[in-house]
Amino acid sequence: MKATKKSQPKRSTGKLAAKRNGDLRAILSSVVASGSVWLIDLTQTLSPNFPTIVLPPEMGQARPFRMEEVSRYDDRGPGWYWNNVSFGEHTGTHFDAPIHWISGRDRPNNSVDTLPVEHFIAPACVVDCSSEAKADADFLLTVEHLKAWEKRHGRFPVDAWVLMRTDWSKRTDPVAYQNLDDTGQHTPGPDPDCVRFLVRERDVLGFGTETIGTDAGQAAHFKPPYPCHYYMHGAGKYGLQCLCNLDRLPATGALIVAAPLKILEGSGSPLRVFALVPKG
């Protein structure tokens, strides 16, 4: 769970590319090459040590990331190295589609193979809860916090990601990251009213967190249980979890690229999430 290295502005030959290729690529590469945009990786490394969600052992379990070597320049394949990997759809930095939750099961286009591609790129609003989460692992984000945020940064736009920054991704020890005791997990998340507000009054695209779920660790005891999953997916919204580097995003202005794998009837998938952030 190491934080990724700082992205540096690309120093590619943007102008040359612009001449040779189509307009859009020219625009994008010249923007990136000009140094006016930072690319920031918000993805944790998929590794066997990265924990998956803990459920009672009699239930079906999300499989953790595993990797078996196929060959490594050896008798199994003399000139090449490759692996077979396996993981649950909800492993590592991952995307939750509406079909993941029972409340979203009848939404149209609710699985990762059918969801609209225009949602793969969306603006992000980052709510900084890092000091609150540091003081209280069970910190809950409320409507009050959101309204205070809006006072400073303006209204949450329709179809924007709302990302809850807690700095939880900096807990590189999996034990501290999971933060379990005999009453379950203690990690921050949104309270039910907060989720209802974002869904019904702001019509956001989805909710993202640095913790292992979009809901708080104790959300099984909320009304309803797991409100972020229940309301977001029930309204066709998405979830992103196990994000990192949210501390490097501005409160507003970043563009998130989050395109899950195209899995038939997939309920979610690990993915590479990155942000385009205007410099300065």
């Binding site: 066997p48 924990p51 379990q61 499989r63 595993r66 379990l180």
Partner: protein, 417 residues
């Protein structure tokens, strides 16, 4: 003279680690009957159904009446040591490296003469003795004359010690310390005098109070090990593989489903991933390291223990997919046994019946406590066996299996008892 194992001197790193040698291991098919009984800790000899003569060595026809109707029967081994000698010369490398070697002829009360190794606790011939069948480093039965009374152990005799795998002063890896069984095994090994016990811990974010308690024992070290993760197994083998004398594989994934009571294969895959592929990963990474240290002085690598299940023998449909994974592990353990045979490292399988844990909650007693299984592990190591069926249920199922496997299959299909 008998003497308990002492802490061996530290290895001299400028000397070559010796290669293992084995006693002669070729046996006729009929002679393997002696080994089959010894593997379960028993002395058995053939008895003629026609004239009652007890046979030694194993025969195809009765040495008294030439009848071919010979059956294997367990013997108490009592008899008289008639005469003895000490070998001071040997062409076989194994004995040559261990001379002098005491052997004698025992007149068994059952009526046959047998050649046996003589335990250091036995006084000079003639005297009363008891003959035991033990497994030598080649895994074949060898007869050992021990004092008639008392409980002399092989490890009390410096020459015969390596026919046992006594954990005293040895370094042991217990692959999973998250279960009550793994913790009981670690405790039993500590009580048996193991020098160092590495205890594997997977998914460290799931805290376990029993494992936390073990952390406090002076001879334990908790190490990161998840048998479902090849990288984790490989890394640990790299770190400590060359130090381990005994591996005890306690990693077990047990769910209680039949074919129909769980949709899909996800849970069954997890059972296979821990119980079968876990053993395969461990064997690929740790077995070579053990083989390389099979003759490393008084504390060489010596044994590999698998805690299987009596369900491996015949499927218990109420725990159908778990049974299948344990049967797969049992089959693989036979391959491991064959591959470790040239190094003399013994593979011991335990087939306990239901254990008194959360997954066998709905099984009726008698159930084995984790501590009882742990005791069986240590006893198996101290003794000279390959296959152990601890507890009444395991003994009962084994007897029914040996008598009529098809009948046991039907009985288990109708609920077990």
């Amino acid at each position: 003279m008998t003497q308990p194992a002492k802490r061996p001197k530290r290895k001299n790193p400028i000397l070559r680690t010796r290669q293992p040698t084995l006693p002669p291991s070729v046996r006729s098919r009929v002679a393997l009957g002696l080994t089959a009984a010894a593997a379960r800790g028993r002395l058995a000899l053939q008895v003629c159904l026609d004239c009652g003569a007890v046979q030694y060595p194993p025969q195809d026809a009765c040495r008294a009446c030439l009848s071919h109707r010979l059956v294997w029967r367990t013997q108490d081994g009592r008899g008289e040591l008639l005469t003895e000698t000490v070998l001071r010369n040997a062409q076989e490398l194994y004995f040559r490296e261990r001379l002098p070697w005491r052997v004698g002829i025992v007149r068994l009360d059952a009526g046959a003469n047998a050649v046996a190794y003589i335990h250091a606790g036995v006084s000079a011939a003639p005297c009363r003795v008891r003959v035991e069948a033990a497994l030598d480093r080649a895994g074949q039965a060898a007869l050992v004359a021990v004092p008639e009374y008392g409980r002399p152990t092989l490890s009390d005799d410096p020459k015969l010690r390596e026919m046992s795998c006594d954990p005293r002063m040895r370094k042991v890896l217990v692959t999973d310390g998250k279960s009550a069984l793994g913790q009981a095994v670690a405790r039993a090994l500590a009580a048996a005098g193991a020098d160092l016990i590495w205890i594997g811990e997977a998914e460290p974010w799931k805290k376990d109070l029993g494992l936390e308690a073990l952390r406090k024992l002076p001879q334990t070290a908790i190490v990161s090990l998840d048998v479902t993760d090849g990288r984790s197994v490989r890394e640990l083998a790299g770190e400590i593989g060359g130090k381990i004398d005994i591996v005890v594989n306690t990693a077990d994934f047990h769910r209680t489903f039949s074919i129909a009571s769980r949709r899909g294969v996800e849970t069954a895959q997890q059972e296979m991933d821990v119980n079968y592929f876990g053993l395969l990963r461990l064997a690929q990474e740790f077995a070579p390291a053990l083989s390389g240290r099979a003759a490393d002085g008084a504390s060489s690598a010596i044994a590999w223990v698998n805690v299987l299940s009596i369900f491996a023998l015949s499927n218990y449909p109420a725990h159908g997919t778990y049974s299948a994974s344990k049967a797969a592990a049992f089959s693989l353990s036979q391959a491991l046994r064959a591959e470790l045979r040239p190094s003399g490292i013994r593979v011991i399988n335990l087939f306990p019946g239901p254990i008194d844990d959360e997954w066998d909650q709905l099984e009726r007693p008698p159930k084995l406590s984790p501590a009882a299984v742990a005791t069986a592990v240590v006893e198996a190591l101290k003794g000279s066996v390959e296959d152990v069926y601890p507890g009444d249920v395991a003994q009962d199922w084994l007897a029914r299996h040996l008598d009529n496997p098809k009948a046991l299959e039907r009985e288990l299909g109708q609920g077990g008892q």
